[in-house]
C-alpha cells in the first residue's frame, strides 16, 4: 500500500508469507508453475507501463484531463446536459449498487432489481407503451435493435428501413451495421423545415418497408406536429413505427402511444448522467404484443417462497446466454447502472419537476433564439417550428468561422451547414447566456 513499496497489485492481499503458504498448499513452488502456457507463446518482455502510487496516478490522469479546455458548451444533437442532483452520485455510488453483478441470483439482488423495475415502469408511463427493457447501450444501438426487431415479427414484412434525411451520421452508421445482418437496407426520406415531410414519406412507403423511424424532438430541436399521421402511414403498410425521443421530452410532448408508435428508442442519459462524452443509456420500449421478441434484459415482479413480492430477471430465454445464435440480441452487459441513475434523477424531480424541466427546455430555446435573432448577421430560429432545447440559426458569416471564433472565446456551438449553427440551451448554461449572446453578436457581424 505504501508508495515506495509497490511490488505488485495493491488490490491483492497476499503477503510474501501467505503466497508461499498458498503455493505450498497447492503443491507447487512458484506462481510461474501454475501457468500452463507453451514456451513458444509465452510473453517474456514488458509492456513498459510504469507503476504509480494512487496519488501519482490521480495526478497523472488529472494532468491529462486538465488539457481539455474549459468551454461552455451550447451543444446538444443527441447528448444533453441537465443538472444532476448530488444525491444521485451519492446513492448510485454505493458499492452495493455500483460493484454488483447482473441479477442472476435475485435473492441477493432485490434492491437493484426493484430499481430497474421502477425504471421500466417510469418508461411505461412516459411512453404509454407496455414493455420497457432495462437498457441498451445508447440511442443508436437501440435504433439498430428496433430494426432487427422488425425482422423477427410475423406481422411485419419487408426489408427497407426509412429514416429522416437529417438523421445524425453516427446513429445512421450504427443502424447500417445492425441492419446489415438480417439483410435490411436503410433509406432516407426527406424532411421539410426540420420535420417529417409527410407527403414524401408516404411516397417512399410501400409494403416492402419494415420500419419507419422518426424523432421528436428532431435532431435540430424542432417539435413534430403530425406524428399520428406518420404512425398511420406506417401502419397502412404493416410497417413498424419507431419513434426516437428522450425522457425529458416525453414528459411534455405527445405520448408515443398516442401517435401510434410501436417502438420507442432514444437516449435516457439526459437524466442522471450529464455531459459524459456521448456516454449513453439506450431506452427501448415497445408494445406488449412484441414482448417475446424484445432485446435485452427485462425485470419482472414475482413471488418468493414465502409468498412475498420479489423481483427477478425474466423471459431470459430470449437472451444470448441461453438462446445463443437464436437470441433476440447479442447484448449482455448493458447500461444498468446508468438506468439506475436516470431513475433516481426522475424520482428526484417527480412529475412536477420533470414537466417543469421539459417546459424550460421549450422556453429556454425559444427565448435564446429570440435574443439571437436580434443580432445583426444572425437569424434564428431557421425552422418555423416549436423547439425543444435547441434550434438552428442562420449566420451571414460562414458557420465554421463563427464556430471557431466562439471556441476561441470559450463557447462551443455546432456548425451544421455552411451558414447554419445549432445552439442548445439548458439550465446548466444559464449563467453564461448573457455573455454568450454578446460574444456571438461580436463574432457574427
Amino acid at each position: 500500500m505504501s508508495e515506495d513499496d509497490a511490488r505488485g497489485t495493491p488490490y491483492a492481499p497476499h503477503t510474501a508469507a501467505t503466497t508461499a503458504a498458498m503455493l505450498d498448499a497447492v503443491g507447487v513452488d512458484s506462481e510461474a508453475a501454475l501457468f500452463d502456457i507453451p514456451e513458444s507463446v509465452a510473453f517474456d518482455s514488458d509492456f513498459d507501463i510504469p507503476e504509480r502510487s494512487e496519488r501519482e496516478t490521480r495526478s497523472h490522469v488529472e494532468g491529462i484531463l486538465g488539457r481539455n479546455d474549459d468551454l461552455t458548451a451550447f451543444l446538444g444533437r443527441g447528448h444533453y446536459d441537465h443538472y444532476v442532483p448530488s444525491i444521485v452520485d451519492d446513492l448510485a455510488g454505493r458499492s452495493e449498487f455500483l460493484t454488483s453483478y447482473t441479477q442472476y441470483q435475485p435473492e441477493i439482488a432485490q434492491g437493484f432489481l426493484q430499481a430497474l423495475f421502477e425504471y421500466q415502469s417510469m418508461l411505461v408511463e412516459l411512453t404509454g407503451l407496455g414493455v420497457a427493457n432495462c437498457s441498451m447501450y445508447d440511442a443508436a444501438t437501440a435504433l439498430g435493435e428496433a430494426a432487427t426487431l422488425s425482422q423477427r415479427l410475423r406481422s411485419v414484412s419487408g426489408d427497407r428501413i426509412l429514416v429522416p434525411d437529417l438523421l445524425r451520421a453516427g446513429k445512421r452508421a450504427v443502424l447500417d451495421n445492425y441492419a446489415a445482418g438480417p439483410g435490411l437496407t436503410v433509406e432516407t426520406y426527406p424532411t421539410t423545415d426540420g420535420n417529417v415531410d409527410l407527403d414524401a414519406l408516404r411516397g417512399a412507403l410501400g409494403d416492402d418497408v419494415a420500419m419507419v423511424y422518426a424523432e421528436n424532438p428532431t435532431v435540430r430541436g424542432t417539435i413534430e406536429e403530425g406524428l399520428a399521421a406518420v404512425g398511420d402511414a406506417a401502419d397502412a403498410h404493416d410497417a413498424l413505427f419507431c419513434l426516437g425521443t428522450d425522457p425529458v421530452a416525453m414528459a411534455l410532448l405527445e405520448t408515443p402511444a398516442s401517435v401510434g408508435a410501436d417502438v420507442v428508442v432514444g437516449d435516457a442519459s439526459s437524466l442522471g448522467t450529464g455531459t459524459a462524452y456521448g456516454f449513453g443509456l439506450g431506452l427501448f420500449v415497445t408494445r406488449e404484443a412484441y414482448l417475446r421478441q424484445v432485446p435485452g434484459r427485462l425485470v419482472g415482479a414475482a413471488e418468493d417462497d414465502s409468498g412475498r413480492r420479489a423481483y427477478t430477471l425474466t423471459l431470459q430465454t430470449r437472451e444470448q446466454h441461453i438462446r445463443r445464435e437464436r437470441a433476440t440480441s447479442n447484448i449482455c452487459t448493458n447500461q444498468a447502472w446508468v438506468a439506475l441513475r436516470a431513475a433516481m434523477h426522475a424520482a428526484w424531480l417527480g412529475p412536477d419537476g420533470l414537466v417543469d424541466l421539459a417546459e424550460s427546455c421549450v422556453t429556454r430555446a425559444r427565448d435564446l433564439a429570440a435574443r439571437i435573432d436580434e443580432i445583426s448577421g444572425v437569424r434564428a430560429p431557421v425552422h418555423d417550428r416549436h423547439h425543444f432545447r435547441e434550434f438552428v440559426a442562420h449566420t451571414d458569416q460562414p458557420a465554421e468561422a463563427i464556430r471557431a471564433d466562439l471556441a476561441e472565446e470559450g463557447y462551443a456551438v455546432h456548425a451544421v451547414g455552411d451558414h447554419e449553427i445549432q445552439i442548445c440551451a439548458t439550465e446548466t448554461t444559464e449563467r453564461a447566456v448573457d455573455d454568450f449572446v454578446d460574444t456571438l453578436a461580436e463574432v457574427a457581424r
Binding site: 509497490a6 497489485t9 488490490y11 497476499h14 503466497t19 501454475l34 507453451p38 507501463i49 507503476e51 504509480r52 496516478t57 490521480r58 490522469v61 491529462i64 484531463l65 481539455n68 479546455d69 458548451a73 451543444l75 443527441g78 447528448h79 444525491i87 452495493e96 460493484t99 447482473t102 441477493i108 432485490q110 426493484q114 415502469s121 417510469m122 408511463e125 407496455g130 444501438t141 453516427g170 450504427v174 417539435i223 405527445e254 462524452y277 456521448g278 449513453g280 434484459r297 417462497d305 412475498r308 427477478t312 444470448q320 445464435e325 447479442n330 449482455c332 452487459t333 447500461q335 447502472w337 446508468v338 439506475l340 428526484w348 412529475p351 420533470l354 414537466v355 417546459e359 421549450v362 462551443a412
Partner: protein, 458 residues
Amino acid sequence: RYEPLLSEKSSETVSTEDGPLPDDLTRDSLTLPDVSEPELARHYTRLSQTNYGVESGPFPLGSCTMKYNPSFTEDLAASPDAAVHPDQPTETTQGTLELLYRLQDYLGRIGGMDAVSLQPPAGAAGEFAGILVAKAYHEHNGEDRSEVLIPESAHGTNFASAAMAGYDVVSLAGDDDGRVDLDALEAAVGEETAALMLTNPNTLGLFERDIEAIAEIVHDAGGLLYYDGANLNALLGRARPGDMGFDVMHYNVHKTFATPHGGGGPGAGPIGVTDELAPFLPAPRVAESGGGYEYVDPDRSMGKVHGFYGNWPVLLKAYAYIARLGDAGLADASAKAVLNANYLAEQIDYEIPFGPFHHEFVASAGEQDAADVAKRMLDYGVHPPTTKWPEIVPEALMTEPTEAESRRTLDQLAAAFDAVAGESDETLASAPESTAARRIDQVRAAREPRLSWQSLDE
C-alpha cells in the same frame, strides 16, 4: 424488510396544460412518484441494503471476474474536466483524446495487438465490432465467407454476435480434455470460414495448448482468429493474444481492468487487431499528430457500433487502473488470480474434472443440483459461483475467486462449498432462507410477466 415501490409511496398526476406549447403537441398529464429527497435517500439506501456487491463479500463468479474496483477511479471519472460534450471541437478536448490515445496504446501492448478501437460499449459489442471488422476485411479481399466457428463451450455472446453480423454459426465440439478438438476443427474449417472465435484460457480455465496449430489451421483456410478477452485476467504479462496468432480480439475492461460491473453494466469492449485489419476498425480512432491528438477514420472502416465514442467514463477508469498497476501490478494480478483459483480448488470437496486450470475452475456438483447449491451458498453469506455452465461439466460450479481474495476469505468460501456439499437435496431445494427474498418463482414470473408497476394492478 420489504421496501415499497416508489409508486406505492406517493404518486402525483401533473397536468401539462398552460405550458409553453399548444395543447395538440403535448400530452395531457404525467403521473409519476412524488417523493422528497429524504424519502428518496432512504428508498435507495434500503434497496442497496438488499443488494450484494464486491465490497459485501467474496464474489467468485466464474467468467465474470468480479475483482475489486478501486475507489479512486470513480473520483477521476467524476472530475469536471472529464465532463465533455462529444461534439466539442477536438482542439478543445486534447485531454480526452490523449487519454484515449494512451489507452489504445496500452491495450495494444497488453494484448500484443497493433491497433485498438475503444468504441464498443461492452464485450458483446466488441465481438460484434470485431466480427464486422473481419467481415469488412474478407469483403475487401473479395471473399464472401459465410461461417463463424465457435467451440461448444464458448460464451453465448459469441454465437449471438456472429449471427447478428449475418454469419452462420458452426459449433465445434471439444476434445475429451476440454479443449479444442483439432480434428473437429480441421473438419469444420473451409473456404466458408470467416473466423474462429476462441477464449483462452477457455471457459474451463484451461489454456489451449495447441493454439499455434489452431491458428495455422484457421489461417491456412483463409479465416481469421478472434480472441474473446473474457479470460485475459489469467494471462497478463504471461502471454498475449497477438503472440498466439489471434487477428482480432476484444478486451472486457470490467473483467480485466477492474471497472465496476454496475449491476449489469456499463462495460466497455475495446477491440484490438493486427496491422492487416487496422484499416477496417470502427470510425473514428484517435491518432497523434504534431504533438497533439486528432480523430481519423480508418480507410476502410466497418462503420460504427456506438452513436458517439463508446463508454468514455468506463474507459477512463480502465486507463487509471492500468496506469496505477503498471507492468508489475498487472502481472501480479494475474499471478494472484491463478494462485487463488488453485488454492481454493485444493480446499473444496467437489470434483474438478478438468485441469490444469488458471484463474478459474469448473467443479461438478455431482448428484446435487448446481443451481440449488448456489442458492444454499447464499445462506453462508457468500456469493455462489456461476452454475450449470459450461455444460461439459455436469452440474457445473464455475468458480473464479480473482486476485482480490485473501487466503482467509478463500478458506471461508471453501468452508461454504464443503458445508453445502454435505447437505441434503431437501435443504438445498428450500434454500436460501437467510436472504432478503426467499427462493423466487422464476417460472411463474416468465409465464405471467408483470414488467411494470402498472401491470401489478391488473
